[in-house]
């Protein structure tokens, strides 16, 4: 587990994407290639929410749904892996920190079961710090999305940012950067609000 999260923390996500494309698309044929959906199904369903998975379900078009799912699964998994690695790594160190504290020993001595101490006592305290980490890792997701969208040729925010960079469109670059910053700040705000629920001391 530790190795898995260490590798996930160290691996370049765009390389993982390329390797994923080779193995699961070119060799095994389990998933779709680049883009959001097979070219054959492009514009096949009416656009309602903008999310292909939801749109195709609303239209009752099963083929489009499957194709869209096959396209989204690999980038989503890879993006999730890198951020999962970060979160699990931090959780481990927080948890070790908490388990070394005296109240854990006290609870064990009182005769509480190991599971209860770990999940009821230590994990409750970890949760507070974990909220911050999850918020930060969302920033990592945004940054990973820039590279993942380039690898998988998704017409998204990151793709727009990189093309703007290439042609030197500074206004677009500035706007994208500011939006990312804004999202990040909002997330931090939400985390701070979450503290109130997770940590009784801040109430």
């Amino acid at each position: 587990m530790r190795l898995l999260s260490l590798v996930g923390h160290s691996v370049p996500i765009f390389w993982l994407g390329l390797m994923g494309l080779i193995i699961f698309y070119a060799w095994l044929g389990w998933v779709g290639g680049s883009g959001r959906v097979d070219i054959f199904y492009l514009d096949a369903v009416p656009r309602r929410t903008g999310m292909l998975l939801v749109d195709s379900l609303l239209a009752g078009d099963w083929d489009v749904f499957v194709s869209a799912f096959r396209h989204i699964i690999l980038p989503a998994l890879l993006l999730g892996y890198s951020s999962m690695a970060y979160i699990s790594r931090m959780t481990r160190s927080f948890m070790l920190d908490q388990l070394g504290q005296e109240y854990v020993t006290t609870a064990r001595v009182k005769g509480l079961s190991r599971r209860r101490v770990v999940w009821g006592h230590a994990f409750r305290n970890v949760l507070v710090q974990l909220a911050t980490i999850v918020a930060i890792s969302y920033g990592g997701l945004l940054e990973g999305a820039v590279l993942t969208e380039t690898v998988f040729a998704w017409p998204g925010f990151g793709q727009y940012l990189t093309t703007a960079l290439m042609i030197g469109d500074m206004n677009a670059v500035l706007a994208c950067t500011l939006i990312v910053g804004l999202v990040f700040i909002c997330l931090n705000l939400i985390t701070d609000l979450l503290y109130r629920f997770l940590d009784p001391r801040t109430r």
């Binding site: 260490l6 160290s10 765009f14 070119a26 590279l147 950067t177």
Partner: protein, 297 residues
């Protein structure tokens, strides 16, 4: 042979492990030796050091183009094959290690002192100086590092040196924050009060008495952030904003290999493995260093 060398080094060893050191120099050497033993006892940390130092042997010139031998599979002549211009991939990866370590090293050299100075100054002085410096830090922290680096590179123009500046600009805030947190705990300690009563000036206290105490945790933090610097550098290169061709750089190599992905997968696999190895090495090295310097363990 090994027995002999062991016997010869035995007095040195007993000198290094003596219960009561006789001189300051011996005490200093002992603490250094014990720290080294602890680092060497961590196999992952040793692996990290080896990987960092091993990349100096190339079989070909990284720029030599042989168009007749383009896109070859790995063979005895070209250990990892050749790229789209007939250049030896193995040599380019070896030289690419230089580019990456150049970026990582320069960023670390720039970022460490800046972060340390700003953090220690803010933490020690407090008041409006702290508010000002920490708000600036927060502004930089409110962007993911790669996106901030992208914005800086696009403003400065794509080149290797600008990539270094951009990465440095986006990675100092974390270190400044850490240094400030360390300083806050040091500031109220008795020895700082004692130095102040003795009449030391504020800059002297910050540079001579506060900063050295922050140094261990900052060094660990810089080492750990070197891993993400290597990743960011590769990401910039991949997007075409880092090192410019024909400089061998792993991210840029990956980016060109993308065009030949389906027929020549190893072209893309090898530079990525190199990035992974270096990033992993820095992470392991940082972890080992942290275990070594952590006073609690």
């Amino acid at each position: 042979m090994t027995v002999q060398s062991f016997e010869r080094s035995a007095p040195l060893r007993s000198w290094l492990l003596a219960e009561a050191p006789e001189s300051g120099f011996q005490a200093w050497s002992q603490s250094f030796y014990l720290a080294w033993l602890r680092l060497a006892g961590n196999p992952l940390a040793v692996l990290g050091v080896i990987v960092l130092l091993a990349a100096w042997i190339a079989t070909h010139s990284p720029f030599e183009q042989v168009l007749a031998e383009r896109l070859q599979r790995p063979s005895a002549a070209h250990w990892l094959g050749t790229d789209e211009l007939g250049r030896d991939v193995f040599s380019r990866i070896v030289y690419g290690a230089r580019t990456t370590l150049y970026i990582v090293g320069l960023v670390a050299v720039i970022v460490g002192p800046i972060g340390l100075c700003i953090g220690a100054t803010a933490g020690y002085l407090g008041g409006w100086v702290e508010a000002l410096l920490m708000r600036i830090t927060d502004i930089f922290l409110s962007f993911p590092s790669l996106i901030l680096a992208l914005a800086f590179v696009s403003a400065l123009g794509p080149s290797l040196d600008n990539a270094i500046i951009a990465i440095a600009l986006s990675s100092w805030p974390g270190i400044a924050r850490l240094a400030r947190a360390e300083t806050l705990t040091i500031r109220s300690s008795d020895y700082v009060d004692a130095v102040r009563v003795m009449g030391a000036s504020t800059p002297r206290i910050i540079f001579k008495h506060v900063m050295p105490m922050c140094l261990p945790s900052v060094v660990v933090r810089v080492t750990l952030s070197m891993a993400s610097v290597a990743l960011t550098a590769a990401g910039l290169g991949f997007l075409g904003l880092g090192a410019q061709p024909p400089t061998p750089e792993w991210g840029a190599m990956l980016s060109t290999a993308r065009q030949y992905l389906l027929e020549h997968w190893y072209l893309a696999a090898m530079p990525g493995l190199a990035i992974l190895t270096v990033s992993l090495a820095f992470n392991l090295f940082g972890d080992g260093l942290r275990d070594m310097l952590n006073p609690r363990s």
